[in-house]
Symmetry: C2
Subunit: 118 residues, 2 copies
DNA sequence: ACAATATATGAACACATATTCATATAAGGA
DNA sequence: TCCTTATATGAATATGTGTTCATATATTGT
């Protein structure tokens, strides 16, 4: 793998070894990208925003993001599976809230990034 | 929009107004998700990792991530268009490097997140 | 001018993803 | 028990995305 590199003159073989040694493994890269993928949809981002401010039931989220209940349910499943949200049941109503302190940090970092480059 | 909400008893109309007022607009949500989408691919993440350590030419990146030169070029275009990388030309060789201080921060935050929940 | 090399690009294809519609499940009240 | 309401789920569909193959562009050396 390394031997095929064009050896760009700006990097020596020893540095190259180090790069490869610390590189994310295939599964690690897959996991990381799967995590980011969750944030890569406007509807989910809106849901994340709302949940970052207040726990909400599905029906409320549905009207807030302006999308059918079914669509929101499907997206909440994605958020649940990536453990970004948690649920609380009260009778027939299910309240969702954020279940991770990193989530909103990431959201804000990205926001800041976009602000800076505009 | 708000009036259709089921008024979940845990949130009053006044709070609801505030939520909506501060919510990301349609275009803002779109921009944010587009940004995150860039990170949502293992190949691009690997490229980002390598570039976070050292500037590299396309051929090196190609062999490092174990993917055809064409595929890497296509992904580099995505990274260029989202202004995450910059280029330096030396003859016929083009060196890529990261062009944003937020990028690796995001990468590391996500890494930390995955570590914590495992 | 020509050959060789590095990178970029367009078309094609396979695969993933978001939404909708219809319907299932589950809980509460009459 | 039956009806109503909140949420979840499966199938279908349309759209988006990543990779490959073939080829174009551009630069250097002969």
């Amino acid at each position: 793998m390394i031997d095929k590199a064009c050896l760009c003159k700006t990097i020596d073989p020893h540095q190259m070894e180090k790069l490869v040694a610390n590189a994310p493994s295939e599964t690690e890269a897959q996991r990381l990208s799967d995590f980011f993928k969750v944030f890569g949809d406007p509807t989910r981002l809106k849901i994340i925003y709302y949940l970052s401010r207040h726990e909400l039931c599905v029906a409320d989220l549905s009207s807030l993001v302006g999308m059918q209940q079914s669509a929101v349910s499907h997206q909440l499943k994605v958020l649940r599976m990536s453990r970004l949200v948690k649920t609380r049941k009260d009778g027939v109503t299910i309240y969702y809230s954020l279940d991770d302190h990193h989530v909103f940090t990431l959201y804000e970092l990205a926001q800041q990034h976009l602000k800076e480059q505009s």
